[in-house]
């Protein structure tokens, strides 16, 4: 099956149901496991619908190379990458590409706002996000998994962020877009939020939305966040039961 490209636009909503049978404000099933990798300080494995994401956290350690170290705080290095076999098309070239560099950057900025960097001047914290299988919304899945990984590592942080996307098909607001919806929807908006104060840490958007549509999308995301936060909490607590 070839998806994407400039083919004819498929119908995203049939009888009020989406292509995978969900209702508009329904999340895909999420499964999270913490402490998957023994060598990492913190790690997590997330299955979010058909997305499969592995996140690992190392550090804090001495920043290398030396000239990138910040004398006042720790720096975060983040690498988001899709495995060459993760997708049905494209992404088949390994190594960082334009998209991966962008997602690494925005993910890094999410964590710069929650990790207490001032405690470790001159050091670095590494966050790795490896997408093993992708089906739309992998940056949100990556941030959600990495947040659980950081929390399990003992690196001090203010909050455990989550991320999820919302979008628009016609006039209908959809939560948690999959690959087909991502490609053919009229808008796509991934958002990362620190749930304690509902601080928005990441907000990107493709396409266009009216102010009302934006508000209701954000509302939907915050409501879904309660579910995602609970999954993260359960996974972290399960390790110590």
């Amino acid at each position: 099956m070839i998806m994407g490209g400039s083919g004819e636009k498929p119908q995203l909503i049939i009888n009020g149901k989406r292509t995978d049978g969900r209702v508009p404000d329904e999340l895909r099933p999420i499964k999270l496991e913490v402490g998957t990798l023994k060598n990492a300080e913190g790690s997590a494995y997330l299955e979010w619908g058909n997305n499969k994401v592995l996140a690992a956290v190392y550090g804090p350690k001495e920043a290398q190379p030396k000239h990138i170290a910040d004398p006042n705080r720790a720096i975060i290095k983040c690498r988001y990458q899709m495995a060459p076999f993760s997708s049905l098309e494209e992404h088949s070239r390994s190594g960082p590409n334009r998209r991966a560099i962008e997602i690494s950057k925005v993910t890094k900025e999410v964590f710069e706002n929650v990790i207490l960097l001032d405690n470790f001047p001159g050091s670095e914290i590494d966050i790795f996000i490896e997408v093993l299988q992708s089906d739309g919304g992998t940056r949100a899945a990556g941030i959600t998994a990495a947040a659980a990984a950081v929390a399990s590592s003992g690196i001090p942080m203010k909050d455990i962020p989550y991320a999820v996307s919302a979008g628009k098909a016609g006039d209908l607001i959809l939560l948690d877009l999959n690959k087909i919806e991502d490609n053919y929807s009229d808008a796509d908006m991934p958002v990362a939020i620190a749930p304690r104060n509902n601080e928005v840490l990441l907000l990107q958007m493709d396409g266009s939305m009216s102010k009302e549509q934006f508000d209701s999308a954000l509302q939907m995301i915050k409501k879904a966040g309660e579910t995602i936060t609970k999954i993260q909490r359960d996974a972290l607590e399960a390790r110590y039961r």
Binding site: G154, P156, K158, Y240
Partner: protein, 221 residues
């Protein structure tokens, strides 16, 4: 006891404690831990070692330059062992020689040597935090293993009970650095390693002392 995650409120009043931050007059946890409400204590389950004066560490000599040994210890902080201060008996040709030389040390160390020491001073240098180390001791033989810094108090135990139990049970000398490096030397190092791995895994479960003594009695079988 309740499990607390980063961002959870642990007190409605501002309390200054480790692994917590105060925001808007309330205290929030920054790491995963357990809250002992009866004592008002927050015990981290995972944490990163942050050096304090008097901490005991185990590290490896990384470099020796200008009479100063650099110690790497699996953390973002770098340890320095300065030469012993030289007693001043009047000037020598106007040069201010505050420090002695290598040869005046009791022990000469080389790159790769394992060393134990105490943190004498935590100093904030231009680009990172430097630890001035004191009372260095070169360790010969043995084996180094890494442990999670948050589990170190459990490995040592209340008034070193656990550590003593490990040492007698395995006939090993065990030095536990607060930085998360443990040096083992003696008769049954694999058993000690096994026991330490078990302590790390089950640090949060009660009755650990009994299970460890059982493990040591059965020689890990």
């Amino acid at each position: 006891m309740k499990i607390v995650l980063p961002g959870d409120k642990i007190s409605d009043t501002p309390v200054r404690m480790e692994n917590a931050i105060v925001e808007n007059g309330k205290t929030y946890a920054t790491v995963i831990g357990m809250m002992d409400e009866s004592r008002g204590a927050f015990i981290p389950l995972e944490s990163v070692w942050y050096p304090r004066e008097g901490d005991f560490i185990v590290g490896i000599i990384e470099n020796s330059k200008n009479n100063v040994y650099t110690v790497s210890m699996d953390s973002p902080f770098r340890g320095l062992i300065l030469p012993p201060p030289r007693p001043r008996f009047g000037g020598r040709g106007g040069r201010d020689e505050r420090f002695g030389r290598h040869e005046e040390r009791r022990e000469i160390m080389h790159m790769g040597d394992i060393v134990s020491a105490f943190v004498k001073e935590v100093k904030r240098e231009a680009d990172q935090i430097i630890l001035i180390l004191d009372r260095p001791r070169r360790l010969t033989g043995g084996k180094l293993i890494e442990v999670r810094p948050s589990k170190v108090p459990r490995i040592i135990g209340k008034e070193s009970t656990m550590l003593r139990q490990l040492e007698t049970g395995t006939k090993c000398t065990i030095l536990v650095g607060l930085n998360g490096i443990v040096w083992l030397n003696g008769e049954d190092v694999p058993l000690a390693q096994k026991a330490i791995a078990k302590i790390q895994e089950e640090a949060h479960v009660g009755g650990l002392t009994e299970r460890i003594s059982e493990l040591l009695e059965n020689k890990g079988r």
